[in-house]
């Protein structure tokens, strides 16, 4: 790769995605709209490869910072490219590409018209770009901007399906998310007031020097951040918008939101807590315990709510709540294994949940049945779809050889390292509950006689390819976690300020 590109690759990824996003509406008029879609997919794939390249760089040459426009911090905008951003770039690319590929098949039919489809693509790419930005950014200003872009974009793609429930859900989502971003903004303001900086590295220096002087203020701003990002990333008591939004959107949107959008805010939260404020301060404050407790609550409660659902997508949405609990639990543990588990789970849950949502969308589209109780015998008609759904379920339950197990394993180790046996019980019980709410679907689909056999066929090959790709990703991560695990551990190490273990 030529030097000019490789140096500026980080910012190039975001810029390229943004520009593609803005091109999209112009492509409405071309005869074959699929060209546009495949162009978008292609750009995503490029972003993915760029992310992989960056990750390799980071793994080998260590983290580095990039001053946008050559202006150094604190005046310029600084991108800090470390293992976190590498991992998250890979995650986004790896998951977003198949999702868009899947969406591209009958996007126009889903969202109504060509122009709407084009705008959908725009929003989608905007979302992806914002997430990448969240991954690589190094200062709070950027974080705020990217968070806002992501929020608006995700709201909009929920509303892409043009019906009452979707719009109502979107409005609620928008309202709550805006309140959340208001809190985030307040938090940023507090930090700024306290330290006079928006660059996280500088803030960290300032705080580590003088945080004992104003613990209360720091605490309040941390609570602002927690609540703000908690709302956006559906931490348990604040998840209330999620089920509606994620279950009423079209399949690709739900997949995108559930798997990636949420994770973006979590990454932001991680950066604020562990980079800006600093690991030693955070771990000394009770906020981590609160995160642990909330995480455990989320795991159990989310699973129980999921059990109660009969609508497949809604059940999956609640399962997202439960899985986010795992991630927050890892954050709360605040030790190397726990954070590694968090990162691994960000990746594996992204892949798994998007796969599940896509499969669910395929089932619903082909059979017209959205309730689990109606899905008897679907497995015989759509073996591939239900097969990948099975893969996703097993990974979600945390069976070895599937990606879910790797993260759960790390989380278990982390909670044991913390001596937190309750967390161990909750983690194990959570996976049992996951089995309880996912396996019945498979049982219905594969082992019960269909009530009336309507002639149902598999979805288009492209969609099958997309889903199979995700399934392969899951299994590969589960079988050979090596490199990814290394990256995750490095990311955790960066957060904790340990010297990178290679």
């Amino acid at each position: 790769m030529p030097g000019a590109i490789s140096e500026n690759l980080a910012v190039l990824i975001v810029v390229a995605l943004l520009s593609t996003a803005y091109i999209m509406p112009l492509l409405t008029k071309i005869r074959k709209f699929h060209v546009a879609e495949f162009f978008a997919v292609f750009m995503l794939a490029l972003a993915l490869s760029g992310g992989v390249y960056l990750a390799r760089e980071i793994l080998h040459n260590g983290a580095f910072t990039y001053a946008v426009g050559g202006w150094p911090a604190p005046w310029g905008i600084e991108l800090s490219l470390d293992a976190i951003s590498g991992l998250f770039l890979i995650t986004v690319g790896l998951v977003a590409t198949p999702i868009l590929l899947y969406a591209s098949v009958d996007l126009v039919k889903d969202v109504g018209s060509r122009s709407r489809a084009a705008w959908f693509l725009t929003l989608f790419l905007l979302l992806v770009a914002a997430l990448c930005g969240l991954g690589i950014t190094g200062d709070l200003f950027n974080i705020y901007v990217m968070v806002e872009v992501a929020t608006i974009a995700s709201c909009a793609i929920v509303a892409a399906r043009n019906d009452a429930v979707a719009v109502e859900a979107t409005f609620k989502y928008l309202m709550l998310a805006t309140i959340g971003s208001g809190f985030v903004l307040l938090g940023i303001g507090f930090l700024f007031v306290l330290t006079g900086n928006l660059n996280m590295a500088f803030i960290a220096q300032e705080l580590s020097a003088s945080w004992q002087n104003y613990p209360t203020a720091l605490w309040v701003c941390l609570s602002f951040f927690l609540v703000g990002f908690g709302v956006k990333s559906a931490l348990f008591p604040l998840h209330v918008w999620l089920p509606d939004a994620h279950s009423s959107a079209i399949a690709p949107s739900s997949a995108m939101l559930s798997s990636l959008a949420i994770k973006g805010y979590i990454i932001a939260l991680l950066k604020v807590f562990y980079v800006a404020v600093g690991a030693d301060i955070i771990t000394r404050l009770p906020i981590t315990n609160i995160l642990t407790v909330l995480g455990m609550l989320a795991i159990i409660a989310g699973a129980l709510f999921a059990l109660a659902q009969d609508e497949l997508k809604r059940r999956l949405a609640f399962s997202t709540v439960s899985q986010v609990g795992y991630i927050f639990l890892g954050i709360g543990l605040g030790n190397i294994q726990g954070l590694t588990g968090t990162f691994m789970h960000i990746l594996s849950h992204a892949a798994t949940k998007s796969l599940l949502f896509l499969a669910a969308g395929a089932i619903i589209k082909q059979t017209g049945k959205s309730r689990i109780s109606e899905m008897a015998g679907v497995g015989f008609e759509m073996p591939v779809t239900l097969g990948v759904f099975a893969v996703g379920s097993l990974s979600m339950i945390g069976i070895p050889l599937f990606s879910g197990f790797v993260s759960k394993w790390q989380l278990l180790l982390g909670s044991l390292a913390r001596g937190n046996y309750l967390a161990v019980i909750v983690l194990v019980g959570g996976s049992l509950l996951a089995a309880a709410y996912l396996l019945p679907v498979l049982r219905k689909a594969f082992f019960e006689r269909p009530t009336q056999s309507a002639a149902v066929t598999e979805v288009a090959y492209v969609q099958l390819v997309a889903m199979l790709f995700l399934a392969v990703v899951i299994i590969m991560i589960g079988t050979f976690p090596g490199v990814v695990l290394q990256l995750a551990e490095q990311a955790a190490a960066t957060l904790l300020g340990l010297e990178v273990l290679l």
């Binding site: 070895p400 044991l416 161990v424 089995a435 594969f446 019960e448 050979f480 090596g482």
Partner: protein, 487 residues
């Protein structure tokens, strides 16, 4: 070389399963030949590995994958015992299934999962560290679930759900145990080096660990409080109940317990923990209660299931006595009980297929119609009681000697008494089958019947041969005992 062979042994059946999954449901001959070929192949390889290990003492061991959680396979006499047992009986069961499943509509599904679970069982047998063991143990549950619910009716589905619930709960106990072990030993999970690594653990940790593992494996081994799934899982097709619920799955649990006791903790540690009395009491209760409940069952397969529960406890009893003789008894009982019990299930299946009778009370005079079937049933049931010249005697004999060698007299009484209970619930079946008059007409032997009959008779013959030449198993048993006890 042998590394590759191990992998082939494990995964050949998997390929066979995939092949069958893609062959159309009509191609019966192709399917059957693929299944038989794959199973025979893997069985042959396992036998070869066994002979290699026994003669030259070479046991292949190797790792796959990177990072902390590596799949490691390492063969040892104990694993090979289980592997040989499972893979061999699988061949017989497959032949039986060709007959039994002849008219079934979902043969493709059945046989693919049948082969799949065969490979997974071998994986359990050859696992070299706890993680690999847990992985295959977990997979076995999912691979066997379709076989359990094969009938597809309400009852079968409920039984399957029960099965999954029990197994997953047990597996999660094991997972917790493994993680805790990982913490305690600092990342050592290999069976070879575990007992040494456990030296640093505190007694309380050890007890917690032990019970996590024992509960986890006890679920599949159907130890008394956790036995509920086994009888209800008998709704599965007979070859499945025979193979999975008398041989493979339950023995996987037993095998796990053996691993826990001997490979994970090691005899010294367990001795020092003095939990032995509790475990022995639990086993004895399981033995007796199992027999007592079996006395009351009228459905033949349920009766067999409860007898399985009680017989498996014998093996655990032998394992918990921590004495070379008792361990030999446990290994012998693992081998002999499987070979005998599978015959009983096969016969029950033939009766169900030919006459449609499922209850003991219906069997009056059926022996006249199916003399070979019921005859082998009767003879083999004598073996279950522990009568010479059938193999069942020798394992009990060694268990008794072990119990005496460890000065636990009461176990001797338990063993003898449960033997008598076995007689009480097995003998009447045969007698009523041969004594009474049945209104059924004797029918001519179809090829299907022969497909089911031949494995049954062959295995019955094996039971007799082992009874007269128990020494045939001696090298294997000696190897296992020498592996864990320095004599």
């Amino acid at each position: 070389m042998s590394t590759v062979l191990v992998l082939i042994a494990i995964f050949s059946t998997t390929f066979g399963a995939i092949w069958i999954a893609v062959t159309p449901n009509e191609a019966k001959t192709e399917r059957n030949s693929v299944a038989l070929g794959a199973l025979l192949g893997s069985a042959a390889i396992v036998w070869w590995l066994l002979s290699l290990g026994l003669h030259s003492g070479v046991y292949p061991a190797f790792n796959i994958g990177v990072a902390s959680l590596s799949l490691s396979f390492s063969l040892d006499p104990l694993g090979l015992t289980y592997g040989v047992l499972a893979s061999t009986l699988w061949v017989f069961a497959s032949v039986y299934s060709f007959g039994y499943m002849d008219q079934d509509r979902k043969q493709r599904q059945y046989f693919s999962f049948f082969l799949l679970s065969a490979g997974i069982t071998l994986g359990i047998a050859f696992a070299g560290n706890l993680f690999t063991f847990y992985l295959f143990y977990e997979l076995l549950t999912f691979a066997t679930y379709p076989l359990v619910v094969h009938a597809g009716n309400k009852e079968a589905l409920e039984a399957g759900t029960k099965y999954i619930k029990y197994s997953l709960t047990g597996a999660s106990f094991i997972l917790a145990g493994i993680v805790m072990l990982w913490r305690v030993t600092g990342g050592v999970l290999d069976f070879g080096s575990l007992p040494a690594a456990l030296g640093s653990a505190s007694p309380s940790q050890l007890v917690v660990l032990l019970f996590l593992f024992l509960i986890g494996f006890g679920v599949k081994a159907a130890v008394m409080p956790f036995h509920g799934w086994l009888p209800s899982a008998m709704v599965a097709p007979t070859p499945v109940s025979a193979l999975l619920h008398a041989v493979a799955v339950v023995n996987a649990g037993v095998f796990g317990v053996l691993r826990t006791i001997y490979s994970v903790f090691g005899t010294e540690v367990i001795q020092s923990m003095n939990v032995r009395p509790i475990l022995l009491v639990i086993c004895s209760i399981t033995i007796l209660m199992g027999s007592f409940i079996a006395l009351k069952q009228d459905v033949l397969k349920r009766r067999l299931a409860y007898s399985t529960i009680s017989q498996l406890a014998y093996i655990l009893l032998g394992a918990f006595m921590l004495h070379p003789l008792a361990l030999a008894g446990a290994i012998l009982h693992m081998i002999f009980h499987s070979t005998l019990k599978i015959v009983l299930f096969f016969s029950a299946g033939i009766v169900a297929e030919e006459t449609g009778y499922l209850k003991v009370s219906q069997l009056k005079g059926v022996g006249r119609i199916l003399p070979l079937t019921l005859g082998s049933f009767g003879i083999i049931s004598l073996g279950m009681i522990g009568m010479l010249p059938l193999s069942g005697f020798w394992s009990k004999y060694y268990l008794m000697r072990g119990s005496l060698a460890t000065d636990s007299w009461i176990l001797l009484v338990v063993l003898l008494f449960s033997g008598f209970l076995n007689a009480l619930y097995f003998i009447p079946i045969t007698i009523s089958a041969f004594a009474g008059k049945s209104e059924l007409k004797p029918r001519q032997k179809t090829s299907v019947l022969w497909l089911m009959l031949v494995p049954t008779l062959a295995l019955a013959g094996i039971g007799l041969v082992f009874g007269l030449w128990p020494g045939l198993t001696l090298p294997l048993v000696d190897a296992v005992v020498a592996q864990f006890f320095t004599l």
